[in-house]
Amino acid sequence: MKRYEQFPHTADIGVRAYGSSLKELFANAAFAMFDIIADLEGLSGSVSENIELEAPNKEELLVAWLDELLYIFYTKSFIFFEFNIEDLTDTGIKAKVTGRPVGANRNRLKTEIKAATYHNLKIEKTDKGYQVEIIFDI
């Protein structure tokens, strides 16, 4: 299954993420975001963070999850590419994410994403699992 694809949005970036389960959908949406931020090919993980978040529903939880990862990227300078989601409900997520410090990889950075937005955000159930369209402000 394709992890994600970009769809055209005039000013910003639109991402359609897929997942056979909700956990996979959350992992793939995060992967899509970092794939846009940096060239991830060939990187192996050396740093990890544990993340635990709550939100009123699964859409807001998805934005909270992406924004938390962005926050760590900007404040600790880590690029993440492995997302191990240990526990996920409609209102909570527990995950261990693994990546690499920006450090010597600065020339891998491509795009500054400011935030994930709530614009028309809806997680949909499909016959293959789940999908969601997210607009990132860049």
Binding site: Q6, P8, H9, T10, A11, D12, I13, G14, I37, P56, E59, E60, V63, A64, D67, Y71, Y74, T75, S77, V102, R106, L109, K110, T111, E112, K114, A115, T117, Y118, H119, N120, L121, I135, D137, I138
Partner: protein, 484 residues
């Protein structure tokens, strides 16, 4: 390709109405400024639907407006203007300001002429690129303590000028003198401080830029003379915003304001339009935080201008006096402002959201500094890196748009479509053949920002000038561009 199939009624040569009957829940009509040709492009994305959605905001006055550079945003369209009546429960929406709070433009004049810089243009562009931090993850030189950072958020440009980044005269030529009152550093979270740390004096990435330009067309001689501008003169334009601090403020308040929708019984068709009454506890707190981010942005552009001035001095071996790099003006285009208007014979205090729209005060407006009282407020409109940029002034007629006008060319192609269109081409070589030197930090920035990704700024400005909501003063052409 037309995507939007809704109702659009022609009002006159430059205005189109989306009647409030279009969608249940709209409180006012939507009005889009465009000419016959441009309105076709405007229907090609979902921007008109967003104009209709903004008309749902409680307390919205008169209409939900869109400027001719309108395009699809998130929540509000980019190029949207909405004013709400504060005293009758009007709301404020963090999404109506956007993530890059107080993103804006700054125009600086010089005493240089094009013939003075031709042989040094490359040196100048390289030196600006080396000395002005740009690109994703870049850090600035200014490192300050948490206590001083709080002061900076209240004092804005003044704080950085007092610390050596510029001159006192710069403040007079900045919207709100570079510090809007009512900034509340306690309303800014520790996380926002953390994300904005070390980013003062950095350009950012994407469409943010620093541009060396030459004035190539004069439209209004007397105003140009008053501003000290003439044909062939070199100018510097800076486009940047509030960096990580502003993004984090918007992020957190957008999240919190979703709760306000049920608390205040507000119905909006998109979560990104989440809002709260300006006079509520939440509204006041957001306004206090937004103003901190706005002040941070003015301080940031002040630092960027200072760094650029030093580069000019070094490259041309000239002192500040001979270079004459005076600030013409600095104005934001993502911001909410509290302003007073006469609405149907009564003075009302409104919260004017400008999301990708520029304030354009007319001659005589009490908030203008003495030097611009006669001319009206300078309005800075950047185009794409291959065509033109404009200097305009505000007009009395712009009262109909709450003294607002366009903010740029407006995107036409998505970033991925622009990259596809540029595959196999060298944008920098194409521009160099037109006499424009470009440098960027991001690998795909030049393709994403290719001239053809944008509407023609000449057409956009043609509409706002034709509609009378601002007036052309002069036009600039790019010579050297540094992109983030």
């Amino acid at each position: 390709m037309t995507i939007w199939q809704g109702q659009l009624e022609k009002i006159d040569e430059y205005r189109w109405r989306i009647p409030k009957s279009y969608k249940a829940g709209m409180r006012v009509d939507g009005i889009i400024y465009a000419d016959e040709r441009m309105i076709k492009d405007i229907g090609a994305d979902k921007a008109p639907e967003q104009v209709a959605n903004v008309a749902f905001l409680p307390g919205i006055v008169k209409y939900s407006l869109a400027m001719p550079d309108i395009h699809w945003g998130y929540g509000f369209p980019i190029g949207g203007v909405a004013a709400t009546d504060i005293e009758t429960g009007g709301v404020i929406s963090p999404g109506g300001v956007g993530f890059d709070i107080s993103c804006g433009l700054r125009l600086v004049k010089t005493n240089l002429k094009q013939q003075n810089i031709n042989s040094k243009l490359k040196d100048l562009v390289y030196a600006l690129h080396n000395n002005v931090p740009a690109g994703v993850g870049s850090k600035g030189e200014i490192k300050i303590s948490a206590k001083e950072e709080r002061k900076l958020l209240v004092e804005g440009s003044k704080w950085v000028v007092e610390h050596g980044y510029g001159r006192t005269e710069d403040l007079e030529c900045t919207e709100e003198s570079g510090a809007v009152k009512g900034a509340d550093p306690d309303a800014v979270s520790d996380r926002a401080y953390e994300r904005g740390k070390n980013q003062s004096g950095t350009l950012g990435s994407g469409n943010h830029f620093l541009e060396v330009q030459v004035i190539d067309e004069i439209y209004d001689e007397p105003i140009c003379e008053a501003f000290g501008l003439e044909k062939g003169q070199i100018t510097l334009m800076i486009h940047s915003g509030s960096r990580g601090l502003g993004y984090q403020v918007c992020d957190e308040y957008s999240k919190d304001f979703i709760k306000c929708l049920s608390k205040y019984n507000i119905n909006v068709p998109d979560r990104q339009l989440a809002c709260a009454p300006v006079n509520s506890e939440e509204g006041k707190k957001y306004l206090g935080a937004m103003r901190c981010a706005a002040n941070y942005a003015w301080a940031n552009r002040q630092c960027l201008m200072h760094l650029a001035r030093l580069v000019f001095e070094k490259v041309f071996h000239m002192g500040p006096k001979d270079l004459g790099m005076d600030l013409i003006y600095d104005v934001a285009h993502n911001i909410a402002k509290v302003e007073k208007y006469d609405i149907d014979g009564k003075e009302r205090t409104l919260c004017v959201h400008r999301k990708g729209a520029t304030r354009a005060f007319p001659p005589g407006h009490p908030e203008l500094p003495a030097r611009y009282k006669k001319t009206g407020q300078p309005v800075i409109i950047p185009g794409d890196m291959g065509r033109n940029s404009y200097l305009l002034v505000g007009t009395e007629k712009a009262k109909e748009t709450f003294y607002s006008t366009c903010h740029g060319a407006g995107r036409m192609l998505s970033r991925s479509a622009a990259i596809r269109a540029c595959r196999g081409r060298s944008i920098s070589r194409e521009l160099e053949s037109k006499g424009i030197i470009v440098m960027s930090s991001g690998r795909e920035t030049l393709a994403e920002e290719a001239p053809e990704a944008y509407k023609d700024v000449n057409e956009v400005v043609g509409v706002v000038h034709g509609a009378g909501i601002s007036k052309r003063v002069c036009r600039m052409r790019p010579l050297g561009v540094i992109k983030g």
